[in-house]
């Protein structure tokens, strides 16, 4: 395992065109990750994803499209401060690479930036979002971070 990045691979029985659409379009993103997503899926576009209800204490997280080359690559940065331009060191970079395979698509996801951003901040951000969307929420794991969360905010 390479510490500092997360890599995952999954085989999808759908064409790269369809998979690209699902990983890149804001309407689809909302179905597999945040509760709301507003951005234009073109390189350089700056937008946001929202966890929870925007008007009722939800968390708005900046989202910047880095690369979009259908149907092969889609990448974005997230978690950077709203008043900063997304760059290495202030955000996590997620890259989807799509490779045609058999009748379907091999989808590879890489997330990097944990080391550059500061480990604790990056993991907190991830766990916090995971909690809000109801995924992978382990109370026992989150509890040690609650104290630091309160200090930071």
């Amino acid at each position: 395992m390479e510490f500092g990045s997360i890599e995952r691979e999954i085989y999808v029985e759908a064409s790269p065109e369809i998979v690209f659409e699902v990983v890149s379009s804001p309407d689809h993103l909302k179905r597999w990750w945040p509760d709301d997503a507003r951005y234009d899926p073109t390189p350089g576009s700056v937008g946001e994803i929202v966890f929870g209800d925007r008007d009722a204490g939800g968390t708005v997280v900046p989202f910047t499209v880095v690369d979009a080359r259908p149907p092969r690559t889609f990448s974005f940065r997230w978690t950077h401060p709203a008043d900063e331009v997304a760059a290495e060191g202030n955000s996590l970079l997620v890259t989807f690479d799509l490779t045609p395979s058999g009748g379907g698509t091999l989808l590879r996801m890489t997330e990097t930036g944990f080391r550059e951003m500061g480990w604790e901040v990056a993991v907190l951000e991830q766990e916090y979002q995971g909690h809000l969307t109801g995924w992978d929420f382990y109370l026992s794991r989150l509890a040690p971070y609650v104290a630091t969360l309160e200090v930071r905010r």
């Binding site: 510490f3 999954i10 597999w32 944990f114 080391r115 993991v123 992978d136 630091t148 200090v151």
Partner: protein
């Protein structure tokens, strides 16, 4: 430990583990059970002095524990601290596993519905 200190330790823990040479040191210590800068440097393409420096970094973040051994120090991996670092990373990874399973489900449902549409229109199918 105050929260501010805990936070600092975690950032240091991360950069300690982020270095490939230090990961090799940890690997060798896990395999051998224990080692000194001298014994480790014999198994690595770096000098004893360099290994001693890396061990110092690992010691400061609690990933290894030292006991005196003659003129040197003998190091062991602190498995609780190592497990803590690994658990943090794997919890982020499993969140992505869940997201990718959803992506797969959505994409495959779209693919199937497109195929069904083609079947329902035999004049346009092959």
């Amino acid at each position: 430990m105050s929260p501010a200190v805990a936070e600092k330790v975690d950032d240091d823990l991360w950069s300690a583990i982020g270095d490939p040479t230090r990961r090799l040191v940890l690997d060798l210590l896990l395999v051998d059970g224990a080692g000194t800068a001298t014994t480790l440097s014999q198994q690595m393409p770096v000098t004893r002095q360099a290994v001693a420096k890396h061990l110092g970094v690992l010691d400061r973040v609690g990933l290894v524990r030292a006991t005196p051994a003659g003129r040197e120090k003998r190091y062991r991996v602190d498995e609780a601290q190592l497990a803590r670092a690994a658990a943090q990373l794997s919890s982020v990874g499993s969140a992505w596993d869940a997201r990718l399973r959803r992506i797969k489900r959505i994409a495959e449902a779209i693919q199937r519905s497109q195929q069904d549409q083609q079947r329902d229109r035999p004049d346009r199918g092959e």
